[in-house]
Symmetry: C2
């Protein structure tokens, strides 16, 4: 954390990097994203500098089970937006992918189509260890991509756990993708995922069971709590052929118009920021602590002592914090 960094007093490297990515330099954008994703020393300054250029993009979150066809759907939607000259950024998060290498490979394949297109940028992110941080990293990466001037941000993730729900909460519009054949399993989807849906998509809707999935969603909706005056529509798509993508785009626009009224968009972003700010505070406090005594080696030592029953963690933690906290 650079508390000594006042408003606008960024290093010249940061100022230059952000200026370049703002001018459409894709390599500068990729570099800034990497620095932020890796939580580099300059990450905080880059984010602080980029933040001023954010707020106007439409953020669409797309989530669903593995194999639901989210990537194909995101690509199809991105293609539509590009055809209308809207610039597009994609943050693709797949915590079920064990290898970052896989994510990078995926990026290359998905980017090929847009190779010479400066109005499109995609970044994949894979899991990053048990200390969490994927939601934080995704949010930060989205800030940098949006600052590069993208008008539509598509945030794609696998809807399997709390982390992934936190990621999709980045979005203004949340699309939950279902597929035929998961029929009764709609009920076993994380309750949280069903609740955050603004729009349902039944993808691969040419398969048997599309009616059944839609019925299941409708049944859950009638049981569900109020969602303001917006009733999430169910859109049928076949992402591979592009069927239904226009309807999906229209539904997203309709929800966006609805959000624009009565301060709903700000209220939604406020909810997101409430969780994010706490996470940022926690993250920075921990970083501070690690810089002062709680090194990896020190942590390994005390973990060993606790595991061996030689230290009581409930007495140790207050002792660790004592020198850090001003009373």
């Amino acid at each position: 954390m650079n508390t000594e960094t006042g408003v606008g007093s960024y290093t010249s490297e940061v100022t230059e990097l952000v200026a370049r990515l703002r001018q459409g330099d894709v390599r500068a954008l990729a570099r800034a994203v990497s620095l932020v994703e890796d939580d580099a020393a300059s990450a905080w300054q880059i984010l602080s500098c980029c933040f001023s250029y954010t707020g106007s993009a439409m953020r669409v979150g797309i989530t669903g089970s593995p194999g639901a066809g989210k990537s194909t759907l995101v690509d199809a939607l991105a293609r539509r937006y590009r055809a209308q000259q809207a610039t597009v950024g994609v943050v693709a998060v797949d915590p079920t992918s064990p290898y970052t290498g896989g994510a990078i490979l995926g990026d290359r394949i998905r980017m090929r189509e847009h190779e010479a297109d400066p109005g499109f940028y995609l970044r994949s992110m894979a899991t990053r260890g048990s200390l969490g941080g994927l939601a934080r990293a995704s949010a930060d990466v989205a800030v940098v991509i949006e600052a590069s001037g993208k008008e539509r941000l598509l945030i794609e993730t696998v809807g399997v756990g709390q982390d992934e729900i936190d990621i999709v909460r980045l979005a203004d519009v949340t699309v939950v993708v279902l597929v035929p054949g998961m029929g009764d399993d709609v009920q076993s989807l994380k309750a949280g995922i069903m609740e955050i849906a603004d729009i349902f998509v039944v993808n691969k809707s040419d398969r048997d069971g599309a009616d059944h999935v839609e019925k299941e969603v409708r049944a859950m909706q009638s049981l569900a709590a109020e969602h303001g005056s917006w009733i999430p529509p169910v859109i049928r798509t076949i992402a591979t052929t592009g069927d239904g993508i226009e309807e999906l785009e229209r539904a997203v626009d309709q929800f966006w118009s609805w959000l624009a009224q009565e301060g709903r968009l700000i209220a939604r972003r406020e909810t997101h920021w409430r969780a994010r700010l706490i996470d940022m505070v926690r993250h920075e406090l921990l970083r501070e602590l690690r810089g002062r005594g709680l090194s990896d080696q020190a942590l390994a030592n005390i973990s060993h002592q606790v595991a061996a029953g030689q230290q009581n963690p409930y007495q140790l933690v207050p002792q660790l914090l004592e020198p850090l906290i001003r009373r």
Copy 2:
């Protein structure tokens, strides 16, 4: 946090409560568990006091998809242990359950069988909001239950996300429950879950497809990284009839014996504590901050300002921390 509380200087309420739960008073145990789960003011003292009585129980984690029959399996295993006079505690975590009420109802039904049995205690826990904390709460509840003298701790959770992987990491022995019919979906199980399995169970193994699931697991195993010299066995069970439970118990014992060698148990617990200690530190720092200026109202105000673009969070967070941190 009670940094002013030195070693052993607990309030008389805490000392008494812990003494009573140690003597087998089930109501005292239930009360202590509730205080800890609710993160009450006395929670830290209770945990600190209870911790000294932990370390010798065998902790078995049982995870798998919703509907895999985990509860029935846990109940069957618990019954076997009780028949051998080993005392049993169960922590059943289901973050997919939207209502704590459901968890409480589930407790009652599952406890009925053991009503007059002081050697058995079960606690269900449901989801607790987006700020996480379920892994922390489960770990703390396990400490209290173990301190009441339970020799076997069964930790049951739905294996869907990072939170749940963190929960199951509490365990010394991790059992991953699969079912026939999920066939090809074995691959879509969180990679992390497959990696942490010490023992695989194919439950409902009288159904079609048991061979197929087992084959899938074997195929994944041959691709997977080294797991020391332990090759996770695949046990077939029918939890409802008790078929295979004896084999499961034997596999757990074998793994436990293997763990006891060459410092493996301590190494495993050390890994758990490394993540836990960081989480505890983060939690306490945040609690400190909330007690000093970052009230819910203050947080709501600044979240609103950030959402409206009136504040830069990357400049705000360092300012928030400034008065807290001693430099």
